[in-house]
Symmetry: C2
Amino acid sequence: MKALKGACVIGQSGGPTSVINASAYGAIITALKDENITEVYGALNGIKGILNENFIDMSKEDPAELELMKYTPSSALGSCRYKLKDVDVDDTDYKRILEVFKKYNIRYFFYNGGNDSMDTCNKVSKFMLKNGYECRVMGIPKTIDNDLDKTDHCPGYASAAKYIATSMMEIYRDSTVYDYGQITVVEIMGRNAGWLTAAASLASAKGQGPDLVYLPEKAFCLKDFLNQVEAIYKEKGKCLIAVSEGIRNRRGRLISDTGKVDSFGHPQLGGLAAILAEKINKKLNVKVRGIELSLLQRCAAHCASKTDIEESFAAGKAAVENAVLGITDKMVGYKRRYVNGKYKCQIKLFDLTDVANTEKKVPLSWINKDNSGMSEKFIKYALPLIEGETDLPKEDGLPRFVNLKKVLVKK
Amino acid sequence: MKALKGACVIGQSGGPTSVINASAYGAIITALKDENITEVYGALNGIKGILNENFIDMSKEDPAELELMKYTPSSALGSCRYKLKDVDVDDTDYKRILEVFKKYNIRYFFYNGGNDSMDTCNKVSKFMLKNGYECRVMGIPKTIDNDLDKTDHCPGYASAAKYIATSMMEIYRDSTVYDYGQITVVEIMGRNAGWLTAAASLASAKGQGPDLVYLPEKAFCLKDFLNQVEAIYKEKGKCLIAVSEGIRNRRGRLISDTGKVDSFGHPQLGGLAAILAEKINKKLNVKVRGIELSLLQRCAAHCASKTDIEESFAAGKAAVENAVLGITDKMVGYKRRYVNGKYKCQIKLFDLTDVANTEKKVPLSWINKDNSGMSEKFIKYALPLIEGETDLPKEDGLPRFVNLKKVLVKK
């Protein structure tokens, strides 16, 4: 494959994770060192940064400061939730992207995001191919939801899982300290896939986790739920519950959908933990606390998994290395191997077409029939991913996150 | 002072903290090594363990396992919320405690808890003094609320403060990632004293924290609040708010008091973050997220302050050492010194009478007039306390908390 000289651009998109910047840093630092890559641009706020030519020059950043990206949560380059229209319906954005790519001689495009971002990445890749503009396009995944297909797991999942399992162990300690009963409901992210909620059962595997775990993969019956809680409460005098925000009843309606609308007519979702806490309180007349892990599960970089940080970095690095070698139209993913029984993660490339807009759910066979948690298969799957602690530096006892200069490139 | 030979009992009480067990461990390990102390009993569930003679023999625990108490959140001996009646009204419990103390020859009583626990400790101490039973009584404080009087600060506060400041920095990163506006309201514990909410401003001091901080020390005006949020949102396109659960209006009514009652007639409190989020959404028609840090701020031992752990241990140790030396009827507290500009913490003993049922609030002069955060005085006060990281051991990437055998003492 012939060498391709030109500039590269990297953008980030979708919801934050604790390690999305570790991937971006892996790509940026590798690109900065590569002689085929003439310029390394960061697109501010993802694809919108390309459309608006809002680029920052990554070579102007102090190398030691730049390295802090490895430990800094949320998208350091800014994010967006911008979905490209279908090219057959409206190709305005695509033509504009091509125009910008030509103007800056951008020959490498790295897009760092989740399911929707892989869709964007795929669409841009196909448009460039169709129009004969040589640009190597690579998707670098991130999603706490762990729901991208093909890859064994997704960068960002493990750190969220580690935070959830750690927090569940701590909540278990906290909520079992009195000699009178207490019931606690913890609401965890994941609209359609239950990978994050499943992580709560890692705490149960240590004997310090939820008694009941409800994933969106299984229909949720309120009556059965209340009976299960009551049975455990009667036996143990307490009950800890982990529940996905995305649980639905048999008719597919979200349990968090109260039927109410707010002053603007939007359906009032959420407060699922509070809703279930109230139902339990009504039935059992016992103190029930609802807890929502909320944003913290996706940005608690202080509790990130070292394995996740390193694998995320490796994904960004591999994207650049493979692109320079001539590969394009792929998403970087992971393949799991066991060497002498020890977990190893291997980079594997997948066709963007195969991963864009996919959604991988938790296998039903991994969920215990009585909702008490996850089978040994899940525990074995997830435990190696959360191994190791972050090297996030501290200053005055607080995280020292990255502060980019963000030197804008002249338009 | 003559040596006093006999058994000791230690109990824990009130809400959990990340480091309450570090104090208990400091007392237990010191007592186990002291030749004057014949037995070291742990009372299960605080004062109720004494009333019911539910004692565990601390000498039966494996020393290496016992040491994990230093890093384990929530009361390892179990807790209670049991308030002793006034002795003049009903002395039944006191007589029973004296009976138990005599039966087991308990000559040292260490009580590890917050404001109410210091009250219990004080009452027991005075009863023993009055009845001529020689028992040395020491209070070992813990409270995330930091509201005990006399002492410079309280064991447990710093770890909660560190978790809050760290989480605020992470939420700041997360909630400012898009190029469209977002408003986030974070609700923090503290019914009457705003020390915990003030800790959010440590993140602001790092340029990555809340724009607005509301403590219960100041009356909260909803109209002013909405105007402040609007002004910041118009200027910056986003706004991050930290608010104490205990804020009240000028008439003293909790803002979280919705006026509604639940099915049992109890007033429906809480969801303050959600309440304020809804008010802001109604005024500004912008996405607003409410987050409640809930239990995690008091039990997130994975993010504990090393300074707090060590000082808490020292408090437990000092309680035993001073009791053996003949001192009684005191609470162990801290005095702050600066040696060559460097923070030093010194143990100081306070009369139980002076600290029982006290409540120390944040000085109004430490709060910025515009509610934008705390003055430099508070930052200088709090920063040294959150210094250093926990040495909590990990197993499979998760905390390795203590598992006590809890060998019961024969009644």
